[in-house]
């Protein structure tokens, strides 16, 4: 079957969003999107409609993004990590017994799954992801969006497994706090509900 390039172009915004979250560099993103488009057109005979076009295109994009990450050889430097991150976030969240502080004790989010249907939610979600420090974000995205196993992330970035766990924990905590402030207890959620 022949793929209409306008269909490919319609998927460009989502592809750009995806690649940007991982690469955070507009030039790198444009290169990756272009390579993905070219590969898609070149290999269109391989697309048999078994999966949706978007799924197929994203599997190409995923591989191109991984290649770009590898090409960039942006090794995670442990000293950069600890500088670019503050380890003090746990001290803010917990008291010296390791219990939640009163102000930081997590509240229940009401009907969170309904957010998935709201466009506004996804821009908040992206903003929170882009707000993570670059290295933390990369590791989180490799885990959650590229679905790497933790062992493979460690190998790829020369980190220890426990380092990876700590970074992922930190990423999830920061995202949790960001969504809590910017969506669930903030104006965004209220406004978009009414």
């Amino acid at each position: 079957m022949t793929i209409d390039t306008s269909v490919l172009n319609a998927l460009r915004p989502d592809m750009t969003r995806f690649a940007y979250l991982l690469l955070r560099d507009q030039h790198a993103v444009e290169d990756v999107i272009q390579e993905t488009m070219l590969t898609a057109i070149e290999k269109q005979d391989g697309f048999k409609n078994k999966s949706s076009l978007k799924t197929w295109l994203f599997s190409i994009l995923r591989n191109k993004t991984i290649d770009a990450l590898r090409r960039g050889k942006r090794e995670v430097n442990i000293s950069t990590l600890s500088n670019d991150e503050d380890d003090s976030f746990e001290e803010v969240l917990f008291n010296h017994h390791g219990a939640w502080n009163l102000e930081t004790k997590p509240n229940a989010w009401s009907n969170p799954d309904a957010s998935f249907e709201q466009k506004q939610f996804w821009s908040v979600f992206d903003a929170c992801l882009n707000h993570l420090p670059a290295q933390t974000s990369r590791i989180f995205m490799m885990r959650e969006f590229l679905e790497f196993e933790v062992e493979d992330i460690c190998k790829e970035l020369s980190l220890t497994t426990s380092n990876c766990w700590v970074i992922l924990h930190r990423a999830r905590t920061k995202l949790r706090l960001c969504l809590d402030t910017k969506w669930f207890s903030g104006q965004g959620f209220q406004a978009s509900r009414s």
């Binding site: 390791g98 219990a99 969170p112 799954d113 249907e117 992922l168 924990h169």
Partner: protein, 62 residues
């Protein structure tokens, strides 16, 4: 006795590795008694789900 700080580390790790039997039970016990941690765990799992939905939803809308 597991505290909230340790519990919050394990609720992240359970998304990345299989917890040992002992860790899993201790976490379960703690979460059943602590609503802060129960909420934190739901939020972390929600974020995990959101990542799965992030690039599917738009397709359904088209």
């Amino acid at each position: 006795m597991m505290n909230c700080k340790e519990a919050s580390q394990l609720m992240s790790q359970e998304l990345d590795r299989k917890l040992s039997w002992r860790e899993a039970i201790t976490l379960k016990l703690h979460v059943s008694l602590c609503d802060g941690c129960a909420n934190a765990r739901k939020q972390v799992n929600f974020i995990h789900q959101a990542c799965k939905h992030a690039f599917e939803l738009n397709e359904e809308k088209k």
